[in-house]
């Protein structure tokens, strides 16, 4: 490789937010890297690390309220920061193209896929509409999309999420750009879909010798596709090296923590052999008004001190099951027994005591907490509602719960807006605990959080279980989490339970075929994992 291969050189890039008083916080500080033709660099880090800001800056674009304050971004010998708005526009698409996280949100719902995929070459005057259409069909074929000739006539809502994500890659490739910026392109997908999409992206990059910037928070994913990896934190570079080196011999402490095998071990609460299980679900079915059966004949048992994981892809009915147990969605048939006592299907028919014993923690702490209430209101409400305590007693109890959550007592008069994502999730847990429940349903409680923050939440939940003996019903799509914290697991597929039992047994051969597919789809932190999976599936 010689220096002529260099397509992009980012030199001491600095991006800053602007607020009313002028300069705001620095989002990206002193970041430099070069990219050669056919090379893939992975940008990795937690949210707020500045990954997306760097990716967008490579298109000469900043989001509202941000500005590139320093450094150079040299694309094929031309500093794009010195270009006129028209010059930057000419670069976007034909020079550097962007692939976003959520294809569903990034495609215009009112335009066909052909219109949107052909837009870059046609609007930039590079091809006629007919020629662009031929290119699109070729890309659809390359990306293994069904019926490539007619695929583009559909609207975004008419194709699946995995197909749409590949269509977005086709849209980015339509004018044969020199650089592709992938921004968390598989994060919104189910694990089984992620494998296919990842393989399609890799094939595309290899065949067209396109350089790429691959942004993700998942080291295992980036390991499959990147030559180089740059680890970022708070807008600054932590470490930069070959993928091999970062994975095998991380130098920085932060990288070591990211790479390190996640918390292990399992300390179950000593379980008293109780006759009656805490929660027992038998043959439950439920559906929404759409007449679609969402869960169909599900049976499950949770005992004191259990952590039962419910796993499956989006649409498998996991969250609906939680809604049925809590009574938010009345079941159609089947039984839900709590300590041997039949719970009425609808929440409104349940007694206060029945409600108190089952609490819930949600996926999005941002949405689940009222932004106008203080933590005293939020956590104190169940204390007052279920136990009828006085104001002073409520305050005392809330302080105690905050201490249990490792949150400062001074937070009691704050509102959720002043807290970080991890802290908000702790408030969600405190609110659930305030009712002193026997069972807590955790609905994807770590999936909206960064990896290391999520780990801390899991550790906290584990500690609380050891101290208080609460049982958890843990809804998740992350099999890594399941293996580490659940002693029992239920695998759901299209509303039915296809496998269930002790985690060790369900996750060991002989597998149910779907369990095996799920397990084999979880990316592993070695660069040859994707090749192995694809080879194995091709052999089958």
């Amino acid at each position: 490789m010689n220096t002529n291969d260099i397509v992009l050189e980012v030199d001491r890039l600095r991006v800053q937010a602007r607020n009313d008083r002028g300069a705001g916080p620095v989002l990206v500080d002193d970041v430099s890297f070069t990219l050669r033709q056919g090379e893939v660099i992975g940008l990795i880090g937690e949210s707020g690390a500045g990954k997306t800001t760097i990716g967008l800056a490579c298109l000469g674009y900043t989001r509202n309220g941000c500005a590139i304050e320093g450094g150079r971004i040299v694309f094929r010998g031309q500093d794009i920061l010195t270009l006129s708005p028209a010059g930057r526009r000419a670069l976007r698409g034909p020079g550097v193209a962007y692939i976003a996280q959520s294809a569903a949100a990034s495609f215009n719902p009112a335009m066909t896929l052909f219109e949107q995929v052909c837009e870059i070459p046609v609007r930039h005057g590079l091809m006629t509409a007919d020629a662009a259409r031929e290119v699109a069909i070729g890309l659809f074929r390359e990306l293994d999309l069904p019926d490539p000739e007619t695929f583009g006539r559909r609207y975004p809502h008419q194709v699946s999420g995995g197909q749409l994500q590949r269509a977005m890659a086709a849209m980015a490739m339509a004018a044969k750009p020199d650089i592709l910026v992938f921004d968390e392109p598989t994060t919104a997908l189910d694990v089984t879909t992620q494998v296919e999409v990842l393989a399609a992206f890799r094939k595309l990059i290899k065949e067209h010798r396109t350089a790429a910037i691959y942004i993700t928070h998942d080291l295992a994913v980036v390991a499959q596709i990147a030559d180089d990896i740059m680890v970022l934190r708070h807008g600054k570079m932590v470490e930069h090296g070959t993928a091999e080196q970062i994975l095998q011999a991380p130098r920085a402490e932060y990288t070591r923590r990211l790479v390190a095998e996640r918390v292990q071990g399992h300390a179950f609460v000593e379980r008293v052999a109780e006759e009656v299980p805490l929660l027992s679900i038998r043959g439950v079915t439920a559906s929404y008004a759409t007449l679609l059966r969402v869960i169909d004949g599900v049976s499950l048992e949770v005992r004191r001190g259990d952590t039962v994981a419910v796993v499956g892809e989006s649409g498998s009915g996991k969250s609906t099951l939680a809604r049925v147990i809590t009574g938010l969605l009345p079941r159609e048939s089947g039984e839900v027994l709590f300590k041997g006592e039949m719970l009425p299907p609808a929440l409104a028919r349940r007694s206060r005591e029945q409600k108190r014993r089952v609490q819930m923690i949600y996926q999005m702490p941002d949405v689940a907490l009222n932004p106008h209430q203080t933590l005293l209101d939020i956590i104190g409400r169940p204390v007052g509602f279920y136990f009828g305590r006085s104001r002073a007693e409520i305050r005392e109890r809330v302080l105690e719960l905050l201490r249990m959550m490792d949150l400062p007592e001074s937070f009691i008069d704050r509102t959720p807006g002043e807290l970080s994502g991890g802290q908000k999730q702790r408030v969600g847990i405190a609110r659930a605990l305030a009712a002193e429940p026997d069972l807590i349903i955790c609905d994807e409680v770590t999936s909206a959080l960064d990896q290391l923050v999520g780990e801390e939440i899991l550790r906290l939940l584990k500690r609380l279980q050891e101290e208080l003996g609460i049982a958890y019903l843990f809804i998740t799509h992350d099999l890594g989490v399941v293996k580490r914290i659940a002693n029992k697991v239920a695998v759901m597929l299209r509303g039915k339970m296809v496998a269930g039992g002790e985690t060790a047994e369900v996750f060991a051969p002989p597998f149910h075929p779907y369990t095996e597919l799920l397990l084999s789809s979880v990316p592993e932190m070695r660069s040859d994992w994707l090749d192995e999976v694809l080879a194995r599936r091709a052999g089958l």
Partner: protein, 315 residues
Amino acid sequence: MLRMIGLRLALGVMTLFGASVLIFAGTEILPGDLASALLQNNATPENLATMREQLGLDRPAVVRYAAWFGGALQGDLGRSLASERPVAGELAPRLRNTLFLAVYAAAIAVPLAIALGLMAAVWQGSVFDRGVNMVTLMTISIPEYLVGYLLMKYISVELGWLPTLANVTDDTALGERFYLTLLPMLTLVLVVIAHMMRMTRASVLAIMASPYIEMAFLKGIPKWIVVVRHAFPNALAPVISVVALNLAYLIVGVVVVEAVFVYPGLGQLMVDAVSKHDVPVVQACGLLFSSAFILLNMLADIAAILANPRLRHPR
């Protein structure tokens, strides 16, 4: 989707039925009935009773309503008390005039409002944006009769460019009509433009915050194409309903403007009929106005359904 449209049509018919009941009941509770209005000073109790029998007013209200609405559905709106001619014949030329003015104003106002709204969205925050916003806000804040009189004073009286009155007759030639109604048309345009323009701007700007708009910018597409091709089709639904409301206003709400310019439209006819206690004409006008209102809103809802790609192209 056909089911939704069918449902909407059924709902429209039901609303029209409800409106007809209200109109009938409304004229029913007015003091004095048809008989006393006709007889005026000759209204001795005997005369009244005879008259009521002749007119069928002694029948129960429900039966009279059925006869009236049934007749209306077949185009028979009864006879006017003032002229004693069929109401339908009285109404037809007036309706033509009102529709002419409404279509004339709409043909200018709707495209102009949408174009201005889109331009304000493209140049959001610019002098143009603020200027258009301020001017339209002003025209919507001034009562329409004042707008009419102001235009009349400056354009007709001081400059002498246009006639002050729009007194068209049945034999006025088409070109002459356009000329005579230019001023009332302008008044109406100024009154309805602000609402539509502001809704276009606001709903386009709301869409501009979507990820797929950022995506369009990242594809290097010029801003005005992003606004017109990417944002506007997704912003249509609220714009359509506001356009329909304003079109309805152009038919139903022009009474004041017709009075200012002495334009022989439906609104004037209704005002005259009310002052003359000409109940059949009032009822017929009410029925026509509510039909126009219901029809336009129904069309708007159906257009909004058709504008939704998810409904137009199911999975």
